[in-house]
Chain length 490, copies 2
């Protein structure tokens, strides 16, 4: 495939990607809710759309917006009542923004470790209250929302008469009406159980609150993405992405909001990554079976047999197609670790290969075909597993050349280097792991070298001890001999 | 000094620090304007208040707010006119938030390298438009501001009749009136030249704009800090900090705004770090003599003789008291580099010292006095240069013990370790530099070891080659012998 095809959830088929305003591409992805430590479930959408971002950037000028949902549900202790809280010094109160900032910093830290590139813009929900109020007002003015007791709700049945609520998720409104349950305290405010909140009046204990034309309160969950997507990417942009669990009600409601507020479909292509499962069940907080990224990196969790490096986690995720479920197991992670290591070593070996003089080298054509396969795989809905399979084939060729069985010509080596540079490094975003134990390792190696040097001196083998001294000098390392043995410094 | 004393710009004297709501402490510091790459002038306030934050945290529960000024002055090409711009797709337009996000990410990256801890909350000006509009409305309602052609100005002479405009900076309003010049286009809107903008109506080419009761526009520079300080720290908080160049008009105006909008002094203590100079002149963009942090770290600037590491920059800044000017020169930076290295090596040596049996060891009392001196220095308005001087004294003691001249008792070693842990690591925030060339170094050391091993094999010195193999195995390194020599992997 020479052109990019991607699976559009909206049409339920693969479509040729044609940007609305080439060479510009706008992509909006639902980011984290920052009230908990980032876990494996956060890593999958981040890495999936990082893959998309990296690939699109090779051809287009991409503006990638990934929001931060920091409108939280933190509440003060209800027992204290509003008065007592008001009397407390501001500083003595729980400040939701301090909690949010903590988890934003943690999210960035772990995404950096996973080599996920920062989006072009990372807007926060709390930073766009006026834009959200404006969108709500437009929906009210158009007659598709109503105010009830200081809150504002979207009128889903009315919308569904004129448009189609369910076009993305395939849900049918009548069935929804029969099964929807909501928290009791707002159910009586709604005309219909399927209606969703655009603005909620704050209860006394709710500590994130803003003025609005309707009440002191806070925006509903879905409206932030409508307001921020439109603000930074325009009324209709190219790609809207997120986890599959966001299809309904979040993305379905975003479409409804945008159709009324902006009179436009928000996105041309909708992309959804599938879920991570554990023993066949969805990994999630409610099931108590989720594992944080920090736990993966330290190995400190009862379900983990060992620690797994950030690049192992990234590779594990990329080894599955983003639309397939991905089942967590120690076996699968260890297989990913082994596979990644094979590629890392092949990449390292590649740097040391010299062109062979054998009469039957691996044909350069075969190598250039690998590059064609990789491109086709990416163009076929970002098929990272196929790209990885191609890289394993390349590793075989490299190892065979290293063993002297099938040497490579200069062009072949060059083509393999380019293959790894483009697909392994740039597109899959696999980096050579920065080993946090480097300084320990350096100490170990230096100790070994100083021991050998000492032994050489004892043996009056001055050729060796002089060689060591000179080689260390070349590395800017100074050795000082002291009473208790030699020490070294830079 | 057993209690913390700090110099309060407001009273022009050192005062005992007494928090308003101990054990809580609220501190607000003016952060970066994110429309340029971070330079040395950004590093000084960040490191100064990082020192304060780190020290206060040892005793108090500190909420440290440092804002990001992302309300910028980016304009579309005026020649295009409003209509043309409106017709352009959103994606094809310059998006100020994309520029801001880029520089926010750069700022974080370089502050992390300088080991500056993240503040508790990092609010953005654009994320607090409703709060700013509210503060402006309160000032209007109180009669200390007026609307003029869609903009809102603070009435400085009226405020000065009832309060004192100039109490922080020492400026005298009458003199200001005689000398103030402003940009011509807003001067006709003001009743007085000294009045400052609370809200500015946006000109057609201004691309950051919000609705307000007065016009589609954007907030004035000073009001963001009043709104965000109050929101996250309360009407009056403990410490307000920033660079000395912010005293006037920024901080003077913040006081005026808070006195009217909140009927309260915003901060009990005002702290200002002094400027960085170069050849005696202030380093700044306008003089074309500023150097970015990236340039320092790479050495890529005509004024730099070499690259300086992040910790050298940090140490250079901490070697001066924050209220003194700090003159940039290559000599001063190289002296800082040398001094830091001396402390780093002393700290390393300390780990290897064994208690001496000499009858005349360095008295432990002398060491514990160093700790007392360090504490007094910090309590005397955060005197980091004196703390560093104490650490140099400690380094002398350590080196003397290492040379066997004056050994240390167990208690002495323990006390020195604690001194370095508390003052060097925790308070001054000096970290052992993560050497970015580690992998190169490891490759170099491994090459040396493999050469020695090869030589030993050639010499039939199997004792040495076996020793090397075993020692490498202990470090989890596998050596493979191939046709073109040995290679290694983990």
């Amino acid at each position: 495939m020479n052109t990019l095809n991607l699976y559009n959830t909206l049409t339920r088929k693969k479509e040729v990607f044609e940007p609305l305003h080439a060479p510009n591409v706008g992509m909006y992805v639902c980011g984290p809710t920052v009230y908990g430590d980032p876990h494996l479930g956060h890593a999958r959408p981040a890495i999936t759309f990082d893959l998309v971002f990296r690939y699109l950037k090779l051809k287009y000028k991409v503006r990638y917006v990934r929001n931060i949902t920091d409108v939280g549900h933190l509440e003060n202790d209800a027992d204290e009542g509003e008065d007592k809280i008001a009397k407390k010094a501001r500083l003595e109160q729980l400040e939701p923004m301090e909690v949010a900032q903590y988890y934003i910093d943690r999210y960035h830290k772990f995404m950096d470790m996973l080599n996920v590139q920062r989006p072009s813009i990372e807007p926060r929900a709390t930073g766009h209250i006026p834009e959200q109020i404006e969108a709500i007002q437009q929906i009210l003015d158009a007659g598709y929302a109503y105010e009830s007791n200081g809150s504002v709700y979207f009128d889903v049945p009315k919308y569904n008469k004129d448009y189609h609520y369910g076009k993305l998720s395939g849900r049918v409104l009548d069935e929804l009406l029969a099964t929807t349950r909501d928290n009791l305290d707002s159910q009586h405010e709604k005309r219909n159980p399927a209606d969703f909140a655009l603005w909620k009046k704050a209860s006394p204990e709710h500590i994130m609150r803003w003025n609005s034309p309707w009440s002191i309160g806070f925006p509903g969950w879905h409206v932030e993405c409508t307001a921020m997507g439109c603000k930074y990417l325009g009324k209709t942009f190219d790609i809207h992405g997120g986890g599959m669990d966001l299809q309904f009600p979040h993305h379905e409601s975003e479409i409804a909001q945008a159709c009324i507020a902006n009179n436009a479909e928000p996105a041309k292509y909708w992309m959804h990554n599938n879920m991570i499962t554990i023993d066949g069940k969805k990994m999630g907080k409610s099931l108590g079976n989720f594992i944080t990224l920090e736990q993966f990196f330290t190995g400190d969790h009862p379900s983990l047999e060992k620690a797994y490096s950030p690049m192992t986690i990234r590779f594990f995720i990329l080894q599955a197609h983003y639309r397939s479920t991905l089942d967590f197991s120690n076996e699968a992670l260890q297989a990913a670790e082994k596979g990644l290591k094979r590629l890392q070593e092949a990449k390292k070996t590649l740097q040391t290969l010299t062109p062979g003089t054998n009469f039957q080298p691996t044909p350069t054509l075969e190598i250039s075909l690998l590059s064609t396969f990789c491109k086709s795989a990416m163009n076929d809905d970002f098929s990272s597993p196929l790209v990885i399979a191609c890289l394993f084939d390349a590793a075989k060729i490299i190892n065979s050349a290293k063993d002297g069985k099938t040497p490579l010509l200069n062009d072949g080596i060059k083509a393999l280097k380019e293959l790894f540079d483009v697909y392994y490094t740039q597109i899959l975003g696999l980096s050579d792991e920065a080993d946090s134990n480097n300084s320990e390792l350096i100490d170990g190696l230096m100790q070994m070298i100083l021991d050998i040097r000492q032994q050489a001196k004892t043996n009056r083998d001055y050729a060796t001890s002089d060689h060591i001294r000179d080689a260390l000098t070349a590395l800017n390392i100074v050795v000082k001999d002291g009473k208790d043995g030699a020490s070294w410094s830079f």
